[in-house]
Symmetry: C2
Subunit: 701 residues, 2 copies
């Protein structure tokens, strides 16, 4: 690493420490705000404990999993221990564990703050919408700052200490293996609770949302936190680390060849992205006449603008290439574009939502068919966006020299993810206000306060749909870049293996030709993986919800006075939380293992070319299904809300019943399977890169 | 073409004439059977007329479309008329029109026979299940023989007359452009009628299926014919022609290079496949103790065995390569395997159907989630099957020389489609017995007869699901082979263009590397196309069903005594047929045009490499979605039937209502969108091959 790179890495560390300090300040600010009333405090405490319990149990399972993986890494990676260097394998193992730990800590911080901020936001809603907004937003921003700070800090430290980009793959794999389970586990938990609570509470008994008599109501609120705060945070931590890793792997190879300063550039851009997010968060306020959605959007635009200006200035000062700057801007632009497209397909003032609501008048089957159809349509513009941005980044950077084209794509991913701090802040805002609304209802804060909380919640839903589209787009670009990283891993290994005294001469990979039958073989199987992965998660939600529904029925039968709402009679909230927790942990294992084992099997059968095809098929169908499922789900959710707002017959009508069916189908689509696919494709790519040498040397074909 | 090739082409023509004669004999046999009673004859006549009307109107629209395309072909293909030879362009135009005409005639024959056989089968059911089975099967076999005879005859004639395999692409494009609209149009028609009839008749008014008071009941019966007889026939005609075309394009190139006899081999195998199907049909009988399903399966196994033996003997006698024989057998085997897998996911004695039925007890949302999940799971084994067969065929034939590997894949497709005559016969059997059941009910033939018809119908449903899986697998392999055909088209053009005096030197394509950004660009967009195509068709069904539901409501209001079933009062069946017809034709145009225009746009923007990626993405996501939608749809259908058979609460229960929602969602999945994707991927591949030179010479990148 050159001195310049070193300085920029230290700059990255500096900015991440600044982010942590800012996060701490936000945390203390939130904590210092006035307390809620006793009832809210009690219920809020249930939620806090439930979330903490889930996280503790989840991390216990994941620690075992990580332990096993760590041993495997120590024995086999980067080269089997009997062929290589024990110290290198140990460093790799530590980098991996470091990645899991950073991800877990970021998730934990987010949950701690979110489960305090929800109570404070509910309380603040009594004094008006603006203070309540600020509370929720700043609570969410703690998570945003912690996640992005941790990812930049982790990547910088690993590279500074090991000076080996392969170790970054280990760190990144740690982050993404944890994210896979956090997202999938959180997703199963949250939807189990949500569906079961609705099914018995709303449909069977006609309770309102968040009725405290419902034994699953706390689990539902816990679910929002573990799914959207911890899960989404782990997901974006993973994407952010993966994008930096892909860029740094290629930058390091380029710097070694050309003596260029691309590592510096990556650190500089990543640090400035975080700085831009800090600015965006710091200036976030709800205007006197504005809406919460406008406030959230405004901060995003501030961040975007700040990033474009800051990196422009840096490019000028440090004479970075304007072509690479262009690639980063392309990524940034497409990220925003995908957000706008997602918004169109899920916004309740646009045609798709109206059509779903109208179709609901003919029955639930039409709600489903229409939602699936618009979900399918929503795939095209986003895919074109990703395709065009990858092509543009490639063409922009290709003239810089061999290897720069793929590096350009990775910088587009870095550009897209530069504003991720802001995105996570917006995203974590969602469950806080959702919880705040529930607390306001359960705490009896009156209609006016509930209405304010409802407005804040509705903005959270809109923003959440956009965030998901953004996360998928970012994962798409990142994984394309990881395909490049995989190729350069293999080719580095080829050079090294050929330099050793061995009988076999290995050929460098020049590309993955789909007319090569092993590539095509991998392609077809890789394409099937996200479908199977989604299916396993959704079936898991179904099975788990069945168990919880049975428990809710049991409580209503066994606890006298519960159904009638007798004073002082409370359901056993913790039993539902336990079912959601243990079920989620049980159901996520097959899906996660299936993904990893299939990757290894294809690599051992077909070698590196089959894996190239496998990754490609996986990206393509993963993007397709993730976009489809997230957008259909968001569409059904808002379709139901649109009907509830009095359209197409309004609450209680036949259309409303149909719309509820759509929303229930959409729940595991948008909150369990759809967004978990992101992580799935990242994990597969990293497994492939890490095992590149093994696939190269020991495959059947 | 060598003398030997000529002889084998003539042999193909001979066998296809034999198939026609056999079809004629079957037709006359069906016609000679005793007539049904007057009431059945009247209703049967309604169905016959309705189907004839739809076909006439559809063909009128398609004639206009084909006319426009013919003019474009004449001007631009294979080379723009100002650069090339008018006579060649004229031959291409005629080949194209020939392809559309053959497809249309085969569809017409099938419909004519099916709408006679349904009445005869209803009548024959009065004397027992075995004569009724034979009637329906032989009626369906007319379609099977006509379709396969026509495809072999057409391909042989075009090649004999023009001696130019590029003209085969024109013929094949004619077949597939017609199939695209026939399948999509028929699919929209049939599901519009089915859904509307059920929605008002069964759900709102509690009528039985096929109640003659229902104004949409005739349209529903017509729909079975135009969807499953004409549509599926056109689809498999198209796949069969495309597989032979792909094989012949590559065989011709190999024969020219090596002086081999691969054209002979293709014709020989295709002719023997047809002969095997003739044998299978001739020996089809229902055993005294057997079931209809067993009888259908037995004939399929006879055909499969006969094909394996006959081609084995031919390979021995004519010294064809055993490796190519092996490739054909791999295809045959995988085709049967995909059938078995499809059967597992849709059979009412297996776990998926039971799980869907059980989930229905919790509500329609769970029916949907479970069905979608199993549909996703069903994708994996089929994709692995296709991947392994393509890889095996490639590896088997690769040692024969350069170019043989891809040819091997095309021969696997030919092998898989060898038994297509039998498959179509089985498939066309379905709507005949479905109609026969309806006629028996409407004609008042008594409980015993209806029960017999019901058993025959149930066998038809099982076989239909298997046929669809088979059709998708065959399309998959065919399109992989077409990718090879596309490459050889481009490379032939490169040689020719470079030999002309031009400033530009073109490079031959060595493959489509996914690391090439234009390939990746095409890949992402190609993957989105089947999703959008499906969405447009399904939205079309929804819109069309809305119109028809309104019309049904109008009739029940305006026609006194209709709802009560007053003697002599009949609904206006023709109005519903008109709505289904005009709606279907209106709705299929955007989907078809979208597909073709996107292909051309990607080719003009990104050139041949982008198209290579585009085709790959299209195959991968097309297979994924087609398998998913067909299998989910079949699963929901049988899940509903399973509940109706008295499980999980039985008819009228809450689970039954949920299962009906699943079935309704599944209708456009399995009968409109899913199977149309087959044709969509073939059309895209053929457009790409036909326009290869234009994309090579005039693209932006």
């Amino acid at each position: 690493m050159s001195t310049e790179s070193l300085i920029f890495a230290l700059f990255g560390i500096g900015i991440s420490i600044l982010a942590f300090m800012f996060a701490l300040w936000l945390f203390l600010w939130v904590k210092s705000q006035p307390k809620a009333n006793d009832k809210i405090a009690t219920i809020g405490e249930y939620i806090r404990q439930g979330a903490a319990t889930f996280l503790r149990k989840e991390y216990a399972v994941l620690a075992k999993f990580s332990g096993v993986v760590a041993v495997l890494i120590f024995v086999f990676l980067p080269t089997p221990i009997w062929n290589g260097n024990i110290l290198t394998n140990l460093t790799m193992t530590i980098s991996y564990l470091f990645g899991t730990a950073f991800s877990a800590i970021a998730g934990k911080i987010g949950i701690v703050v979110a489960t305090i901020a929800n109570m404070k936001a509910a309380h603040a809603a009594q004094t008006g919408i603006r203070p309540s907004f600020l509370m929720a937003f700043r609570g969410g921003a703690v998570m945003g700052m912690a996640v992005v700070g941790a990812s930049l800090l982790g990547v910088s430290l690993v590279l500074l200490i090991t000076n080996n980009t392969t170790m970054l793959l280990g760190f990144s794999f740690g982050a993404s293996s944890l994210a896979l389970f956090a997202k999938a586990g959180g997703g199963i938990f949250t939807k189990t609770a949500d569906i079961s609570a609705d099914l018995v509470g709303k449909v069977e008994l006609g309770f309102a949302e968040d009725d405290p008599r419902n034994p699953a109501v706390i689990a539902d609120n816990v679910g929002d936190n573990v799914g959207d705060v911890a899960g989404m945070g782990a997901d974006l931590f993973d994407s952010n680390v993966a994008s930096m890793t892909a860029a740094l792997v290629m930058a390091s190879s380029l710097d070694a060849k050309f003596g260029s300063e691309n590592i510096s550039l990556v650190f500089c851009y990543a640090a400035l992205g975080l700085l831009a997010s800090i600015l965006g968060v710091a200036f976030a306020r709800m205007g006197k006449k504005g809406t919460p959605t406008q406030a959230l959007n405004k901060s995003t635009y501030i961040t975007t603008g700040a990033f474009a200006i800051l990196t422009g200035i840096a490019t000028l000062i440090f004479s970075f290439s304007w072509r690479i700057y262009g690639a980063a801007m392309v990524g940034l632009f497409v990220g925003v574009l995908i957000g706008i497209i997602t918004d169109y397909f899920t916004d309740d003032t646009k045609k798709p939502v109206h059509e779903v609501a109208k179709a609901s008048e003919s029955g639930p089957a039409f709600t489903i068919i229409t939602g699936i159809s618009y979900g399918f349509l929503s795939v095209l513009p986003a895919m074109i966006g990703i395709a065009v941005s990858a092509l543009a980044a490639y063409l922009l950077c290709d003239p810089l020299g061999p290897g720069y084209a793929m590096f350009g794509i990775s910088m587009a991913a870095v550009g897209m993810l530069s504003i991720v701090g802001m995105i996570i802040s917006n995203d974590a805002y969602g469950p806080i206000v959702d919880n705040a609304k529930g607390l306001a209802e359960m705490g009896g804060l009156g209609e006016d306060v509930i209405e304010i909380a409802d407005k804040l919640d509705s903005a959270g839903n809109t923003v959440k749909a956009v965030t998901k589209g953004f996360a998928i787009g970012a994962a798409g670009l990142t994984v394309i870049a990881l395909l490049g990283a995989f190729q350069s891993q293999v080719n580095d290994a080829v050079i090294e293996l050929n330099s050793q005294a061995g009988a076999t001469i290995y050929q460098a990979i020049v590309g993955f030709d789909v007319m090569n039958p092993t590539v095509f073989f991998g392609l077809l199987i890789g394409a099937a993986v996200p479908a199977v992965f989604s299916a396993l998660l959704m079936l898991g939600v179904g099975r788990n919800a069945e168990r919880m529904v049975a428990e809710i029925h049991r409580q209503f039968e066994d606890i006298p006075g519960l159904k009638e709402g007798k004073e002082g009679v409370l359901p056993e909230y913790d039993k539902c939380i336990t079912i959601a927790t243990s079920g989620a942990l049980k159901e996520l294992i097959p899906a996660g293992l299936f993904t990893i084992i299939t990757t290894i099997a294809v690599g051992l059968v077909g070698g590196v070319y089959a894996i190239g095809g496998f990754l490609t098929g996986n990206i393509v169908s993963g993007l397709l299904l993730a976009l489809f499922m997230s957008n259909s789900g968001g569409l059904w959710d808002n379709g139901k809300k649109y009907v509830e707002a009095g359209n197409n017959g309004g609450k209680g009508s036949f259309a409303h019943k149909s719309a509820i069916v759509g929303d229930t189908v959409g729940d595991p689509f948008k909150d369990t399977a759809g967004p978990s696919i992101n992580t799935q494709i990242t994990v597969v790519s990293l497994v492939a890169s890490l095992l590149a040498i093994i696939f190269l040397t020991t495959s059947i074909f």
